[in-house]
């Protein structure tokens, strides 16, 4: 009888240059710095609509990263939470006439409840098995939404809830104006980033990283691994749900594709390209993937070939991703050879 999980040691990188923990001098300022960087985005990118997409997919990937990058769970079903966030927002506004803010709150809660249900079924399965189970359960949600066309609009997508003005108490913003919309969305994304940063810096953050680093050891330390994973899964679902809610507000439609396998895959691709387990990496990944897609699809209908190839190259040669590698380089420079 051997200990159940020996792969952790066997497969971990040999000798790291620095700690894998998400803390350090920079970490206290990572959320404000990220927001500062994002402030410049609409002026750098070719269009504001693209910039808003980067914000939304960036938040989606950051929420996903909470699970994949920090807890070490590879889910392929996060579209379920993104899509649920989007659908509940749209239905609450369009069908039930809720205020956008209330609708978004409801949407985030719904995504959390769904995450609890999917997590409860899937969290017991281990390793890559988990990826398959989450994928299949997300497919179930997809088909359910397709079927419930009375609520979701089915294949035609959900429409009829355009939000022209977003009110925060006494102030309201005209979000048909693309730049205003960008900053309104950034306000939500920024708040979410502050919260995520805080969670990562908390003892709970330490616990999930402990599970990622060595599940056997974490369990022996008295961590209820299953419950902690489930909590991380739900937290991740909440933030992905918020991203979905913002997506609905942004585009004023909810396509069925928001629940599709491809959308789940996007979270994985963006997180990995940017740098799993780094705070700002997923934004870098979202930016890189969306801009690449934007630029390539103007030149060739076969942009997916480039996307797939780039992704394979990242897995093979740059597993830390763009941002992760940059941070490693930086740390090496600071710490000397």
């Amino acid at each position: 009888m051997q200990p159940l999980d020996q792969t952790v040691l066997a497969t971990a990188p040999p000798v790291p240059r620095r700690s894998a923990l998400a803390e350090g001098a920079l970490s206290r300022w990572r959320a404000p710095l990220s927001i500062l960087a994002l402030l410049s985005l609409p002026f750098l990118l070719p269009s504001q609509a693209l910039a808003v997409n980067v914000l939304i997919y960036g938040l989606y990937a950051v929420g996903y990263n909470l699970l994949y990058g920090y807890t070490g769970l590879l889910s392929f079903g996060h579209a379920a939470f993104f899509g649920t966030g989007a659908y509940v927002t749209g239905i609450a506004i369009g069908t039930y006439g809720l205020q956008p803010l209330a609708a978004m709150g409801l949407a985030v809660a719904a995504a959390g409840v769904l995450a609890l249900a999917i997590g409860a079924v899937s969290i017991r399965s281990r390793g890559i098995y988990f990826a398959m189970v989450t994928l299949a359960l997300a497919q179930l949600v997809y088909y359910a939404a397709l079927q419930a066309s009375g609520w979701t609009g089915g294949e035609n997508g959900l429409r009829g809830f355009t939000v022209a003005r977003m009110g925060f108490g006494p102030v309201a913003f005209d979000i048909l104006n693309p730049l205003t919309k960008y900053f309104v969305v950034l306000a939500f994304v920024g708040a979410a980033l502050m919260m995520i940063s805080r969670i990562l810096a908390s003892p709970f953050g330490a616990v999930i990283e402990a599970i990622r680093e060595n599940e056997t050891r974490a369990r022996a330390c008295g961590i209820d691994v299953e419950r902690t994973k489930l909590l991380a899964f739900v937290l991740s679902g909440l933030f992905c749900g918020l991203a979905g809610a913002l997506f609905a507000i942004h585009l004023s439609i909810v396509p069925l594709d928001s629940l599709a396998y491809h959308t789940s895959g996007m979270a994985v691709v963006m997180t990995l390209v940017g740098g799993a387990g780094t705070f700002f990496g997923p934004f870098v990944g979202a930016l890189a993937v969306l801009v690449l897609e934007d630029a390539l699809s103007l030149w060739t209908p076969h942009w997916q070939l480039a996307l797939g190839t780039v992704f394979i190259l990242f897995v093979l040669f740059l597993p830390r991703g763009l941002w992760g590698s940059a941070l490693t380089r930086l740390a090496a420079l600071r710490g000397g050879p």
């Binding site: 620095r18 700690s19 810096a201 709970f204 680093e213 060595n214 056997t216 050891r217 008295g222």
Partner: protein, 253 residues
Amino acid sequence: MTGPVLQVENLGRRFGAFTALEGISATLGRERITAVIGPNGAGKSTFFNLLSGVLKPTSGSLRFGDQDLARLPQARFAHLGIARSFQITTVFPRLTAHENVRTALQARANRYDFWSRRDRLAGHSDRADALLESVGLASRRSRPAAALAHGEQRALEIAIALAADPKLLLLDEPTAGMGPEETKAMVALLHRLSDARAILLVEHKMKMILGLSQRILVLHHGRLIADGSPAEIQADREVRRVYLGQSSGYGHA
């Protein structure tokens, strides 16, 4: 030794048709250091896994103080004061030595705290340093665990286990893979640690066990065939037959 004792009664574990362990009864934790020995495949690891909650028994009972452990999730074992190390070094390889211990402390104290700043939690950092000091790793504080020497990693794993403030420390081959120097240091460490808590260990190095432990349990084919002081065990005919008498020692499968 004033801590609660671990009461094992008729403990057994089957894997499908295969019986790994059967009918083990013993009261553990009164002696400073107790060793579990037996040839490979005797059921030592299964026994340890049952005592630490990694596996659940298929028969028999397991009590710690007045707490029934048989159906308790593994995580609760650490909270009750039973901590363990593994045969294969099991630390957080990419964290520094200090972080390793601090993480274990946090795991114990504030598991579901989403809001405090972990690096500012009162006492954790100092306590981690004290634990590192106690296993002789103070100078390795800021090194990633994976960069430590093998013996140091074993010591670190013990420091992590100590973070749970255990009343009973289960160590699975603490000197596995160590050279004579490292082994000597580890033996000294175990002596020191047993001042404050009971230690139960699985070991292969017979000479070391005879000198170190007050009590020895011998497992063979999933059964407890002997239980007594080192002198009693050395004299036991059954033990000599299955174990000590063999020139190849414990190397056979």
